[in-house]
Symmetry: C2
Subunit: 423 residues, 2 copies
Amino acid sequence: MSVFFKNSALAKVFESGIAALSSEENLLPEAIRAGIEAGTMVLLGNPAHKNLKPVLIGSPSRVKINANIGTSPLLNCAQTEMEKLSVALQAGADTVMDLSIAGDLDAIRDGMLNLCPSPLGTVPIYATAQTYLDAERDPCDIDPEELFAEVEKQAAQGVDFMTLHCGLTRRGAEWAVSGERAMGIVSRGGSILARWMLKNGRENPLLTDFDRLVDIAVRHNVTLSLGDGLRPGAGADAGDAAQFEEVITLGRLARHAHARGAQCMIEGPGHVPLNDVEAQIRIIKRLTDNAPLYVLGPLTTDVAPGYDHIAGAIGGALGVRAGVDFLCYLTPAEHLTLPDAADVAAGVMASRVAAQVGEVSLGRPQALKREAVMATGRSALDWDLMRQACLDPKTLEERRRPHREEEVCAMCGKFCAVKMLRD
Amino acid sequence: MSVFFKNSALAKVFESGIAALSSEENLLPEAIRAGIEAGTMVLLGNPAHKNLKPVLIGSPSRVKINANIGTSPLLNCAQTEMEKLSVALQAGADTVMDLSIAGDLDAIRDGMLNLCPSPLGTVPIYATAQTYLDAERDPCDIDPEELFAEVEKQAAQGVDFMTLHCGLTRRGAEWAVSGERAMGIVSRGGSILARWMLKNGRENPLLTDFDRLVDIAVRHNVTLSLGDGLRPGAGADAGDAAQFEEVITLGRLARHAHARGAQCMIEGPGHVPLNDVEAQIRIIKRLTDNAPLYVLGPLTTDVAPGYDHIAGAIGGALGVRAGVDFLCYLTPAEHLTLPDAADVAAGVMASRVAAQVGEVSLGRPQALKREAVMATGRSALDWDLMRQACLDPKTLEERRRPHREEEVCAMCGKFCAVKMLRD
């Protein structure tokens, strides 16, 4: 048995969840175990997170969707975020990340952990930085000990995965802010750490003291989501030296952590033109030993604020085809404001479309079966079957309601090609 | 001078529009003329369409977007369709097709021609079939003379382009309905013509008498949009023999028509899995001498009713990268009901996102310039510049309004990565 299943936190989650997971994923328990041991799959689930349904990420398990929620200084209402959590899960999100940066962060996180039977992720540096920003202190004065203490606290609280920008090196940060980039640094955590390094003239503490994070991850089965603080924030920046400096570092850290029994995912870009998506994904997968890849977008144009869920779905679908395992949604609010509940639902659905399109393109059996059921339903004008096969039965019913007594839909009426041909 | 510019209707439109077109498209007049002569570009514009701004379609001109509107038997309100026409143009559609199949079709078409300064397209067989369906007669009894008379009438009325399913052969129709397909025939015009052929035991009159259409097209500068009556209606049917039988025929017809001075576009799929989009587009372009390709979708999953504009944008973006010139929108209402005004706007915007993503991936200078302006705006937190660069300034302003006095957006507030790094 590998180092992984000597890990009692992971073993506990694995044993409790494997029967359900095996059935849902249509994978043998041994295949799942082998994927986790190889580091090409991760099993999200912190034993301290009560009533949790663990979630498996990594090929060939189903592609998963994450929804980001959380307060911001200008829109700070914990109750709204709890409602968004429910909306995200109802729309079909597999995981949720609490990115709150305003209010009582411990209480919000606790509330979400209680409310959420799916894995919950966080970005611990936000909580540490918040205490500085709220005190009108510069977060580049953060004491690294506070950051490690925050990670430990959130792990004990039950957080299932954490974004940690461990691969952001001083060299990478210098390149990113050298003026060569169109957009510099657009990751909040990346921006804080880069400034910390540049001001203090020291290397990233999450990198130099990485083993402290590995230790916490193993003890609590917190999956390390190795963050991309230098992800491109404009298509023009995609694939530059700063980005790949970080990817290379992340790959080496993932290998190191894996050898010590910690589960890791890699976070990916970012703004990437369509012509570069496949190349980026394949190279990132190669540099990170095929660790599960968790992608924001990729966002295939910079000029679609209001429609970033669509620009992201385009990149996401192609990304899944190239090897992405886990899609972080983008909502219509991206780059404009904090998403509301409708944005959350729209974002989850756009990501689910992208995942399905990508999985169909890979010939994944469950995705193809769903397509086949839909075609059978459509050719028989069988609306019950269509409702069962479609990604969003509620919307299908709502749009169809005014003409539900008709065999055909209101687009064509008696002009329905299927009906005309059949009759 | 080629046969094309001996054509007085086309020459008239060309002369009147070339100065504006050259400036808008950033192409020399000679390049546009050469593209039209080669058949790789078409200039949409019927001299009988008053106050028309002609539109150029075909690489390397900008990718264009079409919005389908029109009445249906179950939602039959001409006024609503006129409003949808205005919404489509405001959202940025380059052309509109009137697919009305209920009400006074001549009056609706006339109203749209008067209202629409952009090219208007139609599917003439709808009007002919409507007279049969309304009289409770079977449209497979259509007299071909009535169909040709309808085409002539609409050309005289000012219609700029017409979908005509000339490439649908008896052999192709037989294959499509043989039971080998998941979905048979999903094109309304294709379904009517297939039934006509199968019932009457005769070849498609639009094919056998194609020269009559060519003659009308030349006289009125109506662009023939050679329709894909056998386009796949399920991903499982994409690329089958029936589809390519029609594509091959369309390519040969386009060559024939082009040699006689008629402008032609080719209509493309349809439901196509992501892994086949590029291959389909490249093969269709090859088989049709790189005639402008006008694509519905491609729709990359069957199971996303309510989100077909997104599934279509994924296929459309990849399609543009592979050679698509003209995107027909899909709306959230596709497969469910007739689109309303909000659906129309959503459909146009999704297609514009797809076109921009595709053009960026091709390195088209105007698309890249737009991206660069946006990155400059974002890195300077210059919201005016962002508004100028983005695809939908109105939505940007609406979402930003509650916090417009802030330098940052409400997603991050003082946590803004760009602001933190700058300050």
